[in-house]
């Protein structure tokens, strides 16, 4: 099967897949240790924050925000995402977008049903 594929596009994607110096970036132990310590501290903070009553929605937003910061630290440094090619960054936006749709639509559905707010 011969799919016509513009040569310049192919070349662009190939260049996207490359890193600047063709070499693997080696992340050093001090960076890993700093990330691990940050993760420990954030875990303590999230447990501490859960003990303060700020209302259901605020508490949930805080907990999920801290979790997202932790997840970003793991992805960026432990998974080396910070040093990956533009192509991979582009690829990641696709499942994240799908995930957003997957989570947002059912929630919007439930929250916008008639009589949801305090009427049942």
């Amino acid at each position: 099967m011969d799919i016509p594929f513009p040569a310049f596009l192919f070349d662009k994607i190939r260049r996207w897949g490359m890193k600047d110096n063709h070499k693997e970036h080696i992340v050093t132990p001090p960076v890993y240790l700093a990330v691990a310590i940050a993760l420990y501290i954030l875990t303590f903070i999230t447990v501490w924050a859960a003990g303060i009553d700020l209302g259901k929605i605020t508490n949930t937003i805080i907990a999920l925000s801290i979790a997202s910061v932790k997840a970003s630290l793991v992805a960026l440094f432990f998974m080396h995402l910070k040093y990956e090619s533009k192509l991979l960054w582009f690829m990641i936006t696709i499942p994240l977008l799908l995930l957003l749709i997957l989570l947002a639509l059912p929630i919007i559905d439930v929250l916008t049903r008639a009589g949801y707010f305090g009427m049942r």
Partner: protein, 212 residues
């Protein structure tokens, strides 16, 4: 000669890039697999907020906290393992792989011998005495909480188990001297998988143990 060596190096590099990209593609499917369950959690939590809050008191926050620390530490030792391979420190690689495996096993041991047996004893599992009681009493949300709890932590636990088995294979290869700063793709790629398992737990911990 110089040119051939350069080409050889570039090809090897392209191989590692391809392997990593393949693992990332697999991780995307994992993200969406768990995403579906997180969507179910979000919907039922918003509908049965009160029930979820009551039900979560059955969970042991201390155990959840300890397991979070264990997994974060294992992710750190895994990352250090990749660094050891990249810098040709073979003994350190063996050590860090072993530590990662042991921490993964510790996570599962806590889950299977401390946490879940208590839940099973209390009949909180789907079909259990207390679980059926929730439904009969009209607290459907509490039953749903435990259905989601067992489904999500169970699926996550399965991933930890798979990760432990994969890393054991990697450790055996490492002990046979298969890896060096020239060739460490399998170490890095299985590391990516291990970090994703940690990443998912980072969300599971507040969602189940820290509900307000």
């Amino acid at each position: 000669m110089e040119a051939t060596l350069e080409k050889h190096h570039e090809e090897r590099h392209a191989g590692l890039e391809g392997a990593k990209m393949g693992m990332w593609l697999f991780l995307f499917t994992e993200l969406l697999l768990f995403g579906g369950l997180f969507a179910a959690y979000a919907v039922f939590h918003s509908v049965y907020a009160k029930d979820f809050e009551i039900a979560h008191h059955h969970l042991n926050r201390t155990i959840g906290f300890i397991n979070t620390i264990v997994l974060i530490t294992s992710s750190f030792t895994m990352a250090m393992g990749v660094w050891s391979a990249q810098t040709n420190r073979k003994n350190l690689l063996n050590l860090f792989l072993l530590l990662t495996i042991l921490l993964g096993v510790a996570f599962l041991v806590v889950k299977l011998t401390v946490e879940w047996p208590v839940k099973f004893h209390e009949g909180l599992y789907p079909g259990g005495k207390e679980f059926n009681h929730f439904i009969q009493e009209g607290h459907k949300g509490q039953a749903l909480f435990f259905s989601l709890y067992f489904m999500l932590t169970g699926l996550h636990g399965l991933h930890v188990l798979v990760g432990v088995l994969v890393l054991t294979g990697i450790l055996i290869m490492a002990l046979r001297g298969k890896f060096s700063s020239e060739y460490y793709g399998p170490v890095e790629v299985s590391g990516l998988y291990w970090h994703l398992v940690d990443l998912i737990w980072i969300y599971l911990f507040p969602l189940f143990y820290l509900i307000k």
